[in-house]
Subunit: 101 residues, 2 copies
DNA sequence: TGCTCATATGAATAACGGTTCATATGAATG
DNA sequence: CATTCATATGAACCGTTATTCATATGAGCA
């Protein structure tokens, strides 16, 4: 059978989920975090955005459970919370890399 | 090695791609098409949108190579063009179905 | 070849989302 | 316990985008 987990799904929830991945800045943050955990300052440096903008985006990623926070002394360390993310991004890259036959 | 196809990627292109999936209407269209090909009228009936709105969204899906068109007599029949789509949606559902531990 | 029906397209409007700027919060350390 | 430093939050602004309405297109069929 082709339709495995497709039976029950919430279009709104799924749209919200993809919307979160549909932003350059958030994708760059995720990509940086895939290489290892980072604090907010370092993230904002790497993606070249202000501290505020970065924090706003991290809040969105946090709410979607895509990143996870832990405190390390005075700073907050962000990390990827879910391995599905890597798979999703892999699959998107595969799709984008394809020719139109 | 964890990072398979991650080395080279275009954040803009990927964001654009996810943006397309980040819309309730387009997701519903894709879901309907996963069960089989349909003409525009039938699609608009099933998703409960006007013919015009549906056509606009189909154009976007077409440009992203997520759907494919063929003519059948007087009508245009739309179909999923790529099996990656099903996998992507599956994975999103998996992520959404998880508890926050 | 001209009509018709399915679909596409354009302009306009309204809603949404990301960044900035200014400021609040609150844990850690002295 | 007060101060400081990292991070979060709120409001405002502006660009983007989905829908509607009106109309254009163009393939198929008489």
């Amino acid at each position: 059978m082709k339709h495995t987990v497709m039976e029950r799904w919430d279009p709104d929830a799924m749209a919200d989920f993809f919307k979160i991945l549909g932003d350059k800045t958030r994708l760059r943050i995720l990509m940086e975090l895939l290489s290892g955990s980072l604090c907010v300052m370092h993230i904002s440096e790497r993606v070249g955005m202000s501290q505020s903008a970065t924090s706003h985006q991290l809040a969105i990623l946090r709410r979607a459970d895509l990143v996870r926070v832990t405190r390390k002394g005075k700073t907050l360390v962000y990390a990827i919370s879910d391995e599905h993310v890597r798979l999703l991004l892999d699959m998107a890259i595969l799709h984008l890399g394809e020719e139109k036959e």
